[in-house]
């Protein structure tokens, strides 16, 4: 295949990837978009296979590699529960990061194979710079994603781990990486040790960057690592002089960056303050002031009675619903209410759950039609017309202190105004504070009734009481 034809095909695959993301603007076009993505990937792979020289061993390695990796991927994709999607995405990011490191290493050791060696078999300085960036960002993505995975999967506590002088440590590692990149470039690619030092330092940096970030900030972290994996791919797109990789890297990089921005806005935090980490400590101090007043406790029967006789019920799901796997019971509750003639809607806060769009997927899994599910800005004005707000496993995103208490650590964060509804039901395991460690004054209001217990069991009891 001619190099020009190959370049055009890589361009086609890049465009198909753009269309894949474009499809996600609506659930109706999304499936077609995903198909475009698959076709784009197939074109890129087939084009490369035509461009390289294959021997028997090469074919065996490629077919074997794709079969092993593809088989594992297909099994995971089929079996993974929807509640575990944040962990899965973090794990996938780590693989992209590691692949970037490996490809950068191969490009350094065998530049001829990538067509980027000069007449004496060395790499030019610019290529060395690009592949150093590729391995550094890839390594940060890998180790950062492993930490994010461990935190999301519960192998590691979600609490921030704060090293002394952690900002200085990070700056020092960053400076070391920069010096080593310069050293590698100056050596014309012969200083292989410098490459490995860059990679190892970046692995460490990935860990030190992510461990101080607490559980509540995980949606930002996952989005940020998504972005990093894109920039790593783009850096190698420059090294490999490949349009498909360049375009994809740019798309994924900006996608992750936008999602991080949306998540930060949803928490009224600056991106910088999230990466610097440590959120949750100051809040914990103010929460120790203890509960102010008495919370009213209700039973499943009370909730069933009130909701059955309501005109409109808005359900507000949060991470607690995901943990308890309560989405199916919740959908059943919605159906029972609808059978009673009650208008049912779902309200989703942008940072509900552990990754962007987490709640929407879980509700979709439970067969809740997507046109009953609304984003914060579309539904917030409806709470005043609702008879009941049913908050299940959410807390901070409904906290009125974000609007009226300038002293609160979450002051200024956009919240769902559930308190404007006639009655607020809170399904929670205890009266404790949320992930941000902030007391929720809503628990002690007159029109609030606490339903203490496991989200799934409580919902099932309500369903029984209604039936």
């Amino acid at each position: 295949m001619s190099a020009n034809l190959a370049a055009l095909l890589y361009l086609a695959s890049g465009i198909l990837f753009i269309l894949a993301l474009r499809g996600l603007s609506s659930p109706e076009t999304a499936r077609q978009g995903n198909l475009f993505g698959m076709v784009g990937m197939a074109i890129a792979i087939v084009t490369t296979l035509f461009a390289v020289n294959l021997d028997g061993a090469g074919i065996a390695l490629i077919v074997g590699g794709v079969a092993i990796g593809g088989g594992i991927g297909a099994i995971i994709a089929r079996r993974i529960p929807m509640t575990a999607m944040p962990q899965l995405v973090a794990a996938f990011h780590s693989l992209v990061g590691m692949a970037a490191v490996l490809v950068a290493a191969a490009a350094l050791y065998a530049p001829e194979a990538f067509g980027i060696a000069n007449a004496v078999g060395d790499l030019k300085g610019l290529s060395l710079f690009e592949l150093s960036l590729g391995t550094a960002i890839g390594a940060i993505t890998f180790s950062g994603s492993v930490i994010a995975f461990a935190k999301l999967n519960g192998n590691m506590s979600g609490a921030p781990i704060l090293l002394p002088a952690r900002h200085m440590i990070n700056i020092a590692i960053g400076a070391f990486i920069a010096v080593m990149i310069a050293f590698l470039m100056a050596s014309g690619g012969d200083a292989k040790t410098a490459f490995w030092l860059i990679t190892i330092a970046a692995f460490i940096l990935g860990v030190t960057l992510i461990i101080p970030i607490g559980g509540a900030d995980m949606p930002v972290v996952v989005s940020m690592l998504n972005s990093y994996s894109g920039w790593a791919a783009a850096a190698l797109g420059f090294t490999l002089e490949n349009t498909a990789l360049l375009v994809t890297g740019a798309l994924v990089g900006s996608s992750g960056a936008i999602l991080s921005y949306i998540m930060c806005k949803g928490m009224n935090r600056s991106f910088i303050s999230v990466i610097l980490g440590g959120f949750g400590e100051d809040g914990a101090a103010s929460a120790s002031a203890g509960p102010q007043g008495n919370a009213k406790q209700g039973s499943a029967e009370d909730a069933a009675f009130v909701m059955k006789n309501a005109g409109k019920v808005i359900i507000v799901p949060g991470y607690g619903m995901a943990v308890a796997q309560a989405q199916h019971a919740l959908k059943e509750m919605g159906d029972l209410l609808k059978a009673e003639g009650v208008d049912v809607a779902y309200a989703i806060h942008p940072v509900a759950g552990r990754m962007p769009g987490h709640m929407n997927v879980l509700l979709a899994e439970a067969n809740v039609p997507y046109d009953e599910v609304f984003e914060l800005e579309d539904i917030n004005s409806d709470f005043s017309n609702a008879d009941v707000a049913f908050v299940i496993g959410a807390n901070d995103v409904t906290n009125p202190a974000a609007e009226d208490d300038p002293g609160s650590p979450i002051y200024g964060m956009p919240v769902l105004q559930v308190w404007k509804a006639g009655t607020v039901f809170f399904v929670k395991r205890s009266l404790g504070s949320g992930y941000a460690g902030v007391e929720n004054p809503l628990f002690f209001r007159d029109n609030t009734m606490m339903l203490l217990g496991d989200a799934k069991k409580m919902t099932e009891e309500i369903n029984k009481a209604m039936g």
């Binding site: 490369t48 995405v89 190698l236 990789l245 929407n360 997927v361």
Partner: protein, 108 residues
Amino acid sequence: MEAVDPTIYRLAIFVLAVFVGYYVVWSVTPALHTPLMAVTNAISSVIIVGALLAATAGVGAPPPVDGEGGEGFSRIVGTIAIILASVNIFGGFLVTQRMLAMYKKKER
């Protein structure tokens, strides 16, 4: 005027693609942000292109001029990278498909 370094053209493609990405991603409905992350994961595994080059290093080529012979190493890490990227490609696209199949409209 001297010829423009091809890297500049690649930089142009990259910068324009960042802008395309910016506008396309803002048009994604928030309800589909999780599938968006899964599918961006899958497409960023197009890095498999580099892995394929690495895994076939040295095939049919004259011995490298510098005689360093990093081809064996390149083929090993390339194959590992193929496995990792394949997990992502298949896993990413299939899990996206599974998620998207769940989004249904209200029956009327």
